[in-house]
Amino acid sequence: MTALLDSAALDQAGDTGTTLARLLRAEFMKLRTTSTGWLFLVGFIVFTAASLAINGFGSHYQLYPQQGLVSRAQGLAEAAQAHSPAGVAAIAASMMTSGQRVGVLFALLLGVVIVTSEFASQTAAVTFVTVPRRATVIWAKVTAAACCGALFWLMGTVIAAVATPPFLYSQHVSTSLAGWIVARSVLLNLIGFAVWGVFGLGLGAVLRNQMASVIGAIVVYAGSFGAETAFTLPYNLFHQSWLLAAPVIAPALAYAVMIMSGQAFPDAPSGWVGAVIMFGYTAALVAGGIALTKRRDVI
């Protein structure tokens, strides 16, 4: 067969990586070549900067309580607590992860968009015709969503790492940012961002509809915080102690339990319980998304 036209490009090998690696690079190209990904990143940076500022004010008043707002004795006690090595480390950890507890929403929603934009812009058919291995396509998207989550974390952590030392210096306290309490919080947030990105992707793959998935993701995240209240009534009725720990089944609370060194809510179970629940939801959504994507017709 004669070529349609002289093709220097077709005579040379392109990306010779595995299908998954090729698709992953294609996913990054998709993100780079539309404004959505960039808008998410800019939004996240602005949000992180704002959170740092608010967190800075909060930490300042923790270290130096305002006269009049609390009693003098209480103020001195709180200040002493905040100035202790553990207190300073907690403040440093809080500064280093400023805004990240809500910032994971950016990773979550970008995960949703990575998969649902294919259906919203009708490019799913192009994607699946180019590579008719649907599970591999979804795995590439899962990896891309995790990487995007990690990128958000990196941006947030770099901004916080630049701002935190001068802040601590200005407050006349010092602590090592490489200390275990700070490092633990920072690293758990990395896992959290990646997992929320994949959670969003799984949700988008299951629902396919972009609007429904975005709303669903926000409801799942924000609605989780109502779980404590929701379990109060059954506890009052049955007085079973496990009902007080049960709100951990709400994804955002499971995540909070997973990453927080203190208790996310009264009677919260250990961190590993939150991690198991969070990973469980994410794995179930990804498995469901892959199974449905393989089964569904692309029309």
Partner: protein
């Protein structure tokens, strides 16, 4: 031992030389007749080597798709041969797009098979090097440039990204390569779809309504392109509503109605099978007398301008009858049905939307 070793070395050298020669031949074949414009027709649109026939033939066998009890495609079987343009026609809702999507593994058939060169699309190695499909003219992200859209397809398929620029030039979108898809006209979107389909230099281009939204120059360009692709031995399957355009472009037709095959064959044979739709224009000073001698089975209707259409008798029978009756004939023209008439007859009475 030494002899064996020498034989092995010589054998290896011969094998290497042959490999190199074949490679050179392949390179030459690729560039021969493939200048910057569209190349000659190496197979004249007729004779295609049998190896290519096997590689590029589309076989649809008993294909069925049921959606909630409605059969969108119903036991559909047809073949599409290499080296020819095959028009895939049918009214709205006849199941054309569903059939093409089943062929491309986007829709799971309820029953039956669809293969390309005997292989299911999903089982093809590097499918876009074998099959190039245009399914939706609007299938690109609105904020992405045409060039980026194609580069993403290249990246996914493992084709050098520079190929995107080549096909953009080929379809005449070079100047609009960096413009976002949102700013493309429908015609430009069609061209981008064709560019995407040609990225892998495929043996089997499949195009769903590619002429929609094209201006006359664009339609002519599309026609030339598809004819050239078929002339190169490729299997070109095109669905369309533009019957006049299809009559000019297609070698073969597959006509579906209500999900079932209504007709398949060359354009001439499909239209020829509708000879009962043909009529004869007769001009005579004595139409009444002619009608009387033709008998009651023949229908004569006024055509205006002094002429009459005769159906139920061909030109020879009319001429003989007129001669016997002494009726003067000034004009006798057989009018065969066109593709539109044949299409409407073949699909008449079959529910378009089910």
């Amino acid at each position: 031992m030494v002899v064996l070793l020498a034989a092995a070395v010589i054998g290896g050298l011969v094998w290497l030389a042959r490999l190199k020669r074949d490679g050179t031949r392949t390179d030459r074949a690729r560039t021969d007749g493939a200048g910057p414009g569209l190349p000659d027709r190496p197979f004249g649109g007729k004779r295609v080597p049998s190896a290519l026939m096997a590689q590029g033939r589309i076989d649809v066998c008993g294909l069925t798709k049921e959606y909630r009890g409605v059969r969108a495609v119903d036991d559909l079987s047809f073949t599409v041969e290499p080296g020819r343009v095959t028009g895939f026609l049918g009214p709205n809702g006849a199941g054309k797009t569903t059939t093409l999507r089943m062929l491309l593994d986007l829709v799971e058939p309820t029953a039956g098979t669809a293969t390309i060169g005997g292989v299911r699309y999903a089982d093809l190695d590097q499918p876009i090097r074998r099959v190039g499909a245009v399914l939706e003219a609007g299938a690109a992200h609105k904020d992405r440039s045409g060039r980026d859209h194609l580069r993403i397809v290249c990246q996914s398929a493992g084709i050098l990204l520079a190929r995107a620029d080549e096909v953009l030039e080929l379809v005449g979108l070079g100047a609009a390569a960096h413009r976002t898809f949102r700013g493309y006209s429908l015609g430009m979107r069609q061209r981008l779809g064709v560019a995407a389909a040609l990225l892998g230099d495929p043996q089997v281009p499949i195009l769903d309504e590619p002429a929609n939204g094209l201006d006359p120059e664009g339609i002519r360009w599309m026609r030339d392109l598809l004819r050239t692709l078929a002339a190169q031995g490729r299997t070109v399957l095109v669905s369309s509503h533009l019957l006049g355009e299809m009559a000019q472009l297609a070698d073969d037709l597959v006509i579906v109605a209500a999900g079932r095959l209504a007709a398949q064959g060359t354009v001439a044979s499909v239209i020829g099978s509708m000879t009962y739709l043909s009529r004869t224009l007769v001009r005579t000073p004595e139409p009444g007398k002619l009608a009387a001698v033709l008998g009651s089975d023949v229908v004569v209707t006024p055509a205006g301008d002094g002429g009459a259409y005769v159906t139920g008798a061909d030109a020879v029978a009319i001429g003989d009858a007129a001669l016997r009756a002494g009726v003067a004939i000034h004009q006798l023209v057989t009018q065969l049905p066109d593709l539109e008439a044949a299409f409407l007859e073949l699909t008449a009475g079959k529910a378009a939307i089910r």
